[in-house]
């Protein structure tokens, strides 16, 4: 049950809302409110604007951020390489990253072909969180000073153990991201097959 619903139910049943002052919660709610003009760059603001997590309530975002790891990368620093074991899913909190694929194993300096640049509020590496023996399918490099918020397999397990509803919700969102990517991939394959057929017919 969400925090908000819990409060609502307690109110309807004329129960006492709280028996102690939860200072971190009050601080969080104050920072999350539209009246707060301080540092707008907090995690709440950040995740509220990420479409895949839009179904999360304020309290769920607060709990979710407890499981995240803040990692800072300098410009040109490799975040992970294609073929590395993958265990985590990253959100770009600050900066941007470049994605490269098809690199040569024999040359460690080779990053492969540039695929795409991801900016603030975009995410990558979700397969690493779900697959058992995941190998990174691309190399990711910080294109400038970048701050990432990462969640890893042990965190997901901990989340499912401590907050099963939140864990299940996050898993559903991650599955949705993967389903979207799969759909995109299928459309690309279809388009490539069509083009291949056209080329074959011309020949």
């Amino acid at each position: 049950m969400s925090y908000e619903r819990d409060i609502m139910n307690k109110g309807q049943n004329s129960e006492n809302l709280t028996d102690r002052l939860d200072v971190p919660l009050l601080k969080y709610l104050w920072e999350a409110s539209p009246l707060y003009f301080g540092k707008k760059d907090n995690y709440h603001e950040f995740f509220k604007k990420i479409s895949v997590l839009s179904s999360f309530s304020d309290n769920e975002i607060r709990l979710f951020t407890k499981f995240l790891h803040r990692r800072e990368f300098i410009a040109d620093e490799v975040i992970f390489r294609q073929g590395d074991s993958g265990y985590g899913f990253y959100f770009i909190f600050e900066g941007a990253v470049d994605i490269y694929a098809n690199h040569l194993n024999s040359n460690p300096d080779d990053r492969g072909d540039f695929v795409i640049r991801l900016d603030r509020r975009q995410y990558f590496g979700e397969m690493g969180l779900l697959e058992d023996f995941n190998r990174r399918s691309a190399t990711v490099v910080a294109s400038e000073h970048t701050v990432l918020l990462g969640i890893f397999k042990p965190d997901l397990e901990k989340m499912l153990e401590h907050y099963p509803v939140l864990g299940a919700k996050f898993l559903r969102e991650t599955a949705l991201i993967m389903a979207n990517r799969m759909g995109q991939l299928t459309r690309e394959i279809m388009s490539l097959k069509r083009k291949l057929k056209e080329v074959e017919q011309r020949i």
């Binding site: 790891h69 992970f80 265990y87 890893f152 397999k153 042990p154 153990e161 401590h162």
Partner: protein, 342 residues
């Protein structure tokens, strides 16, 4: 840029190495720290239940837990009371046991002389008794040391427990932040896996030892074997050591049986009880509880226990298994990485 990353990596490993060296140099701190960590890992699953769920659920769980602790402590106190009486009975009977052994050895000496014409001059019984006496004196001399260690532990273990329950998250996140980016994912996942494996192993071994100890005690009580509580306790404690433990645990019962003159004491029934208890452990308890946690080859387990004993005594014998399981995981990861690169 690469140079800075390399310096960061070097500093991290230097920090890690310093911590390991510190741990080896100050065992008086490391041992209570490790003990507190084991208690923390054992009680960790309970903290999940105590911190999640509605207020009513948490209160109900707390009440059940409290009742459970009280009810489980009562037989333990009773067992310890019996343990104490058993031990004092054993010490009181020691001179008598020595006399019996001397008599039995004399009969054996006469038998050897009559049969083979060879006179046995050695006096192993006196040798063993003298050894026992001297080690008893040594033990007495060491009592002040043991007492000071005990009081040190009384002070340190709760302090470390407080640290693990209330400060470890903070400390853990600081430690995680110090891990260089290039090795972060792997280190974090391996560290978490080790923590989980270690905790699960300790809990599993504790439950296994309790089950075996209870089975042996009950069995010995049923057949009326002397020192049932002490022997059951020893069987449970020694069972923590894989493979070698059950044999070590059986030796005291064998000695008690050999020294006893009571016609009601049946060595066969006693042996059968140890055999059945260990079979239940091997066939039911171990596969259900422990083997899922540490999936290791039996030969590796035996060799590891011997190496652990050489390195860190009894504690080394116990903790070596989860460490080996962790190293297995680590090598599997390295091997996987190498196979991808090749």
């Amino acid at each position: 840029m690469q140079r800075n990353l390399k310096i960061k990596l070097f500093l991290f490993f230097f920090q890690l190495l310093t911590a390991i060296v510190f741990a080896f140099l100050f065992p008086r701190l490391t041992l209570p720290f490790g003990f507190a960590y084991i208690i923390y890992l054992m009680t960790k699953p309970l903290t999940v239940l105590l911190t999640t769920g509605s207020k009513k659920q948490r209160f109900l769980f707390f009440l059940l837990l409290f009742a459970g602790v009280i009810f489980s402590l009562l037989p333990i106190f009773a067992a310890f009371y019996n343990l104490d009486t058993d031990f004092s009975k054993f010490t009181d009977q020691l001179p008598e046991i020595e006399k019996q052994l001397q008599d039995k050895y004399f009969v054996f000496k006469v038998y050897v002389f009559e049969k083979f014409g060879y006179r046995l001059n050695a006096d192993p019984v006196s040798f063993v008794v003298k050894k026992l006496e001297s080690s008893g004196i040594l033990l007495l001399a060491k009592i002040p040391n043991y007492l000071s260690t005990f009081f040190e532990w009384i002070l340190l273990v709760p302090m470390f427990l407080y640290f693990f329950f209330f400060q470890s998250q903070n400390f853990g996140s600081r430690f995680l932040r110090s891990i260089p980016n290039s090795i972060f994912e792997k280190t974090y996942v391996l560290f978490s896996q080790f923590n989980t494996k270690f905790g699960e192993y300790i809990i599993a071994k504790f439950i296994e030892a309790t089950i075996l100890g209870t089975l042996v005690t009950l069995g010995l009580l049923i057949i009326g074997f002397p020192y049932a509580f002490v022997l059951g306790f020893i069987a449970g404690v020694t069972n923590i050591l894989p493979y070698i433990g059950p044999i070590i645990g059986f030796v005291p019962a064998l000695l008690v049986g050999l020294m006893s003159n009571d016609p009601n004491v049946s060595m066969f029934a006693m042996g059968l009880i140890y055999l059945i208890s260990n079979l239940i452990d091997m066939v039911l308890v171990f596969p259900l509880l422990v083997s899922k946690v540490v999936n290791l080859n039996p030969i590796i387990v035996v060799v590891s226990v011997i190496v652990g004993g050489q390195l860190g005594g009894v504690v080394g014998m116990i903790v070596i298994i989860p460490f080996i399981a962790f190293f297995k995981l680590l090598f599997q990861e390295i091997y996987k990485d190498l196979s991808v690169q090749l």
